[in-house]
Amino acid sequence: MSKTTYKIPIGPIHPSLEEPMTFNFEIAGERIQSVDLLPGDNHRGIEFMGRNRNIVQIIYLAERICGICSASHPFAFCRAVENAAGIEVPPRAEYIRVVIAELERIHSHILWAGVAALELGFSSLLYLSWKVREEVLDLLELLTGNRINYGIFMIGGVRRDITEEHIPRIRKTLEYYKDAYQTLEDVFLKDPSIALRTKGVGILTYEQALKLASVGPTARASGVKKDVRQDQPYSAYADLDIKAITPDVFSGEVNGDVYDRIIVRVLEVFQSVQIIEQCINNLPEGDIVSEPKLAKLLGTLKKAKGEGVGRHEAPRGEVIHYVKLNESENPEVWKARAPTYNNLMPWMPMLENQEVADIPIVIASIDPCIGCMDRVTLVDSQTNKKEVLTREELIKLSVAKTRRILK
């Protein structure tokens, strides 16, 4: 068995993971024997910076932890501070928060579906699904003013209202997605080529998912029914009846492979459309924020003392923020944890014994949130020759396997 080590970064057309990651694989022939993870390339010291900012400034800093799930971090942070300081949120603001969070879930899952198809070699699906995604980005721009980084959360509520003129436009978008959903289901779930390529690949068993503390669709695809919206509901989720989606709803069995993760995410898009419709039909009246004057709010927070934990179910899993306030302008402790943090360890059992050509799709299947580099270095330890593969060559291996299987 020759010990060849790859150093893999994931390429530029891969807007995912919080950190550009370095992997070291040990392979024998075409199969992976073991994998080693080295995170840390995207570490910006955000919690360290949070010590010098006041609470409202931290909301804007938290939005920029990740650009794809940029409504999840402020949501969890605002819940943590409200929990610690005992601030009540008016019901109308709770419903508006949920509408924004679910719209973000739709956009994130469709983004992931396009990227996963690109990794497999079906690049026309990338263009199709991202075109479908533009509709929800237009709606978010109408409601909040921006396509990404919405700036709509505030301690005690939201900053903008959903008015009567917006409602018909929201209904039009929901109709569009109900029609487009059939296309998405046909193309991703009922197509034999994607199924052939992803079934039995990258398996994470129920035991491993539970012991490694994985979260989100990665855990649900292995049969673990964890979902913060179901277990400990908050905001408008408490009035709705939400069940964690596991793949046996569609296919009748649970295998924990990449195909199951595709099933969970596509079904969640439809679940989000239903949730938004229920929220819009029952939107309560009232204020949108508990304290509109910013200076008074900062004064209240300066006198607050206590600890608080805020959780939210982001598109990738559970986001949790912990805050300790101690009667000063800056928080004493702020800890933010993104869902991919817990999903890093499941990569190791998933990648063992897989083929090299499956590396791109298994890595992308947990929906990581990394910015990236672009090269693979192969060092053959017996002859000491160095060979550099670009990301395109790795993708070519993946595409070639697809063509081989489909023959």
Binding site: P12, P20, G45, F48, M49, I68, C372, D374
Partner: protein, 156 residues
């Protein structure tokens, strides 16, 4: 607006992320999708800096990514243009006082075009790439009068 009569050759772009939040990176990828469709102008994203004419840099520079940034800048052949996309690379943005962030991009490599915004709109990126394109044409030896005419027509 027909761009093919202004630009004789296509422009290849290499995208480098030095530790950003991915907001600007998604908008760069969204340029390839049918709505903005930047490939009809001849702009293409390549996978290695050795083929690139333009470097698109996002993110505040992370301490671990700094040697890679310099290496990639040196590997890109001349003539080249460097575009900094987003506020983090221009001035640090919200990340200005961390122990792992070593300052805006122009402290380490020379920059030609700055496109601020947090996050940035795809139309603004196209505008920035066009400005870099015009700069490169100047470097390739077109006369000053022709460049002025092109700039006037693009801005009209």
């Amino acid at each position: 607006m027909k761009l093919d009569k202004y630009f004789d050759r296509s422009l290849w772009v290499f995208h480098l992320n030095t530790g950003s939040c991915n907001g600007c990176d998604i908008e760069i990828v969204a340029l390839l999708t049918p709505r903005y469709d930047v490939e009809r102008f001849g702009i293409k994203l390549v996978g290695t800096p050795k083929h690139a004419d333009v470097l698109l840099v996002t993110g505040p520079v992370n301490r671990k990514m700094l040697p890679r940034l310099k290496l990639i800048y040196e590997q890109t052949p001349d003539p080249k243009a460097v575009i900094v996309v987003g506020t983090c690379g221009t001035s640090g943005g919200v990340f200005y006082d961390s122990y792992n962030v070593v300052g805006p991009v122009d402290k380490h490599i020379p920059v030609d075009v700055y496109v601020p915004g947090c996050p940035i709109r795809p139309e603004a990126i196209i505008n920035g790439v066009l400005k870099a394109w015009l700069k490169l044409e100047r470097l390739r030896g077109f006369s000053g009068a022709e460049i002025e005419k092109k700039i006037a027509e693009v801005n009209a």
